[in-house]
């Protein structure tokens, strides 16, 4: 690796740090949006004045906002996000328990997007503006417009309740049984992937159409290379970097979509956890889980940037 590249990688890493810190600040500020005295809300049913005071003390709510934030950040950096107000389980344990499940369906969904989207994109680009192209692009615009949780419901209704091909809801951890995990995660992954299929198809099509039209490829064509070889050797290789960006974008979108999709499939994942915690005003869980998601997105973006730097020969200078 060239020195330039190393410098660039370092630069990217350093850039991520202020974003992370800002993200923690924004997540912590969420609590400030809660109307009224949060201590009373936390104390819950039948709470005495002393109990409320005790909670103020315990959560440091009687301190200035920035001090509260500082303390929280200090603990968070050490992996202490507090405990759930309802179950008393440490938030980090909750995240450790449910995050792998979410990761599993998201990765599965993104894989499906690529597996379905790449052939569709190639197919569409092979005859631009043909009827086939029109159909594929039409379907892909449906893929963007369909609410993924609704698609999830339709899938459950047809494939699980109707035909009994897949389980309707629930989840098996991949660590327990991979085959069972795949079986359970298939419908959720399909529900998550439609948007991705559409994005991959469109992106690939437009890049390929552009390449097909380029002087360079026309020359190759004239030299008698078969279209398949041209596509493989020059087309896909050139678009792979673009595709990488799309995939990281897809990952982030799918991660966000788990909020509703996991609820539909009753999957014990991050999205489900956040929704439940929000509905139960379990603030430490909301903060911890949202932060975990944001950090994941930032890390994925970072990783994409790094891969991008490594892969693309054109990016050499800072």
């Amino acid at each position: 690796m060239s020195r330039n590249k190393q410098l660039m990688l370092l630069n990217r890493l350093v850039q991520a740090i202020p974003i992370m810190i800002l993200a923690t600040f924004l997540v912590f500020s969420l609590l400030q949006l809660v109307p009224g005295d949060i201590a009373i809300t936390i104390a819950g049913e039948n709470a005495s004045e002393e109990r409320i005071e005790q909670i103020r003390e315990q959560y440091g709510l009687n301190q200035p906002f920035l001090v509260q934030y500082g303390n929280w950040l200090l603990n968070a950096v050490q992996g202490d996000f507090g405990e759930s107000l309802l179950s008393g389980e440490p938030v980090l344990d909750t995240i450790a328990r449910v995050f792998p499940n979410t990761l599993f369906i998201v990765v599965y969904g993104v894989l499906l997007s690529v597996i379905v989207g790449v052939p569709l994109g190639i197919l569409a680009s092979s005859r631009p503006n043909s009827r086939l192209d029109g159909t594929i692009m039409g379907v892909s615009s449906l893929g963007v417009a369909v609410p993924n949780f609704w698609l999830g419901m339709v899938l459950v209704s047809v494939f699980a309740l109707g035909w009994n091909w897949f389980p309707a809801t629930g989840f098996t951890a991949p660590s327990e049984s991979l085959s069972s995990a795949i079986w359970f995660a298939t419908l959720p992954a399909i529900a998550l992937c439609t948007n991705g299929v559409a994005e991959v198809t469109r992106q690939l099509r437009s890049s390929l159409v552009e390449i097909h039209g380029s002087q360079y490829v026309r020359t190759l064509h004239a030299k008698g290379l078969s279209p398949a070889v041209i596509l493989w050797k020059h087309g896909l290789k050139n678009v792979s970097v673009n595709l990488l960006t799309v995939i990281s974008l897809l990952f982030n979108k799918a991660l966000a979509a788990t909020v509703v999709v996991e609820t539909v499939f009753a999957i014990p994942g991050m999205g489900n956890t956040i929704v439940k915690a929000v509905l139960e005003s379990d603030f430490p869980v909301v903060q911890g889980a949202v932060l975990a998601m944001v950090v994941t997105v930032i890390l994925v973006n970072l990783l994409t940037d790094l891969l991008y730097t490594v892969l693309d020969p054109r990016i050499k200078q800072v």
Binding site: G44, E45, A47, R97, A168, G170, P268, E280
Partner: protein
């Protein structure tokens, strides 16, 4: 109980037991059976053993009966902790547990006679000292959540190796049934001393099952206690609870064979169970009551006619049909029709009649109807009930919109801070009805949001119900209580929840109970 010789057939095995009466109290099936020793058939069933796999509705708040606070904990607590008193499944009448008999020599003294030779899972003897330790802990330990359950207790005295005398501040014959719940669950004093707060997660009791493992939000594993005082129970080698909070998923876990049994299902799932598919349904009424709490301190609801109008405006049959898919019982008072203290006459007071409701509103000075500040919870089931109620009230000229929030937020706002005119919620029920009435309507009670002094005669009648332990006399007292409550329309009862369980065909002798907190002590597996 008047019928001294009422033979009842235990569904477990087809044996006939006799119910007998000791000194003004009751014995049940188990006591007789215990004296007779395990029967041959029972032993055979038990030798089959097997592990019962249960889809559980919620992670427990604590496995210590004194420090936990959630009604959904009992499902785990009942197997691990034997109670001083037990109840009949169908009526909640008291029957002997660890206390093989009890009596009230005078209304302010309760004598408990304990079973001899019982030990906790850790080998600690369960004697009078252990019981005194538990009762004192439950009523005075700062970590105890059930201090108010034993508020009438003045002191606990050990009057024999196996006899405890409880001195009361005021007559309280509801106490035996109180001792069938958390307050009567006996914890090993040795274990508590050793573990301290860790006992919350490593419980040691004297129940039919021993605690093995609790993995938060995931599973709880119990194994058979071979030393349980009643050799007829339990009939399985162990219970494994898998915690699955979503009820539809719970049912599916039974259908897919992952679990043998799921409880606390709702009406929609009842419809699914009945469609077949290798799952059997077990249904039964419970004392769990959906109701509208009324804050009648001020505003239109301070007028009794308006409160009566509310009661006439609700079409309870339709509510049960629409929101519970028929799996419930319309509620016209705080007790369901199968309860021993039910009064059929009181149930006639409020037929659905929107016309009458409008007339009552007009008489109360609101010919154009009223507008109320309504409160409720934000889960889908609650929201649906609110929509139905809103529609029914609108037909009678009662308008308004709901403010919703989490159970803890809304309950705190309504009960503690007195916000809103009414709250659509539920009452989970108590083993003894006198607790229900005192907690709901006493002037200083948390659940009386307006802190309004109860109508004349109510508190007297509640005291009356506690001053005798004759069930017939108590029933009379409860009729008076219910009449006062409903004539004054202190509440709008809506519907009693039906307990709905689904099980695999191999699960035998599964029964619901009126408390709505299933016990699995008599369940066995076949095939």
């Amino acid at each position: 109980m008047k019928n001294n010789d009422n033979p009842i057939v235990s569904e477990a095995d087809g044996f006939t037991f006799r119910r007998r009466e000791f000194l003004g109290m009751l014995t049940g099936v188990a006591a007789v059976a215990a004296m007779a020793g395990p029967s041959a058939l029972m032993a055979k069933v038990r030798d089959n053993g097997g592990i019962l796999r249960v889809g559980a509705a919620a992670n427990p708040s604590s496995m210590d009966p004194a420090t936990g606070g959630s009604g959904s904990d009992h499902i785990f607590l009942f197997p691990v902790f034997a109670t001083l008193v037990e109840w009949e499944y169908d009526t909640l009448e008291p029957r002997p547990g660890l206390a093989e008999s009890w009596e009230f020599p005078n209304p302010q003294t309760l004598v408990l006679n304990l079973r001899e030779g019982v030990t906790f899972h850790d080998g600690t003897p369960l004697d009078a000292d252990a019981v005194k330790f538990n009762l004192d802990r439950n009523r005075s330990d700062p970590r105890s959540n059930i201090r108010s359950d034993l508020a009438s207790v003045e002191s606990v005295e050990v009057t024999g190796d196996y006899q405890v005398t409880v001195h009361l501040k005021s007559p309280d014959t509801s106490l035996p049934l109180v001792l069938s719940d958390r307050a009567g669950m006996m914890v090993s004093p040795t274990a508590l001393e050793k573990l301290g707060e860790d006992h919350d997660r490593n419980p040691v009791g004297a129940g039919p099952m021993k605690f093995v493992e609790w993995n938060d939000g995931d599973r709880i594993i119990l194994e058979r206690n071979p030393e349980f005082w009643d050799q007829e129970r339990p009939l399985v080698d162990g219970i494994t609870f898998r915690i699955i909070t979503d009820s539809a998923t719970r049912l599916r876990s039974v259908r897919s064979g992952q679990n043998d049994l799921a409880y606390h299902l709702d009406g929609r799932q009842k419809a699914m169970i009945e469609r077949g598919g290798g799952v059997e349904g077990t249904y039964g009424p419970t004392v769990y009551c959906y109701q509208i709490y009324l804050n009648h301190a001020s505003g239109p609801l301070s007028n009794v006619k308006v409160r009566q109008a509310l009661n006439h405006a609700i079409n309870r049959e339709a509510l049960v049909r629409a929101s519970m898919r028929g799996a419930g019982e319309p509620a016209y008072m705080n007790l369901p029709s199968s309860h021993w203290a039910y009064d059929a006459e009181v149930a006639e007071l409020y037929p659905h009649d929107p016309e009458k409701a409008r007339k009552l509103l007009a008489e109360a000075g609101y010919p154009d109807g009223i507008e109320l500040d309504m409160r409720g919870y934000n889960d889908q089931g609650s929201v649906q009930r609110q929509e139905i109620i809103m529609g029914m009230l609108a037909d009678a000229g009662i308008r308004g919109r709901f403010t919703t929030g989490t159970i803890s937020d809304m309950s705190a706002a309504y009960f503690a801070r007195g916000e809103g005119d009414f709250l659509v919620s539920a009452w989970t029920g108590r083993p003894d009805p006198s607790l229900t009435y005192a907690l709901l309507y006493a002037g200083d009670s948390y659940f009386n949001a307006g802190k309004v002094e109860p109508p004349e005669g109510l508190m007297e009648a509640i005291r009356e119900s506690r001053s005798t332990d004759d069930l017939e006399q108590r029933k009379q007292a409860f009729s008076t209580i219910q009449r006062i409550v409903m004539e004054n329309a202190l509440v709008v009862p809506l519907a009693f929840r039906e307990d709905i369980m689904a099980s695999a065909p191999k699960v035998q002798n599964l029964r619901t109970n009126l408390l709505g907190k299933p016990k699995f002590e008599n369940v066995y597996l076949q095939g």
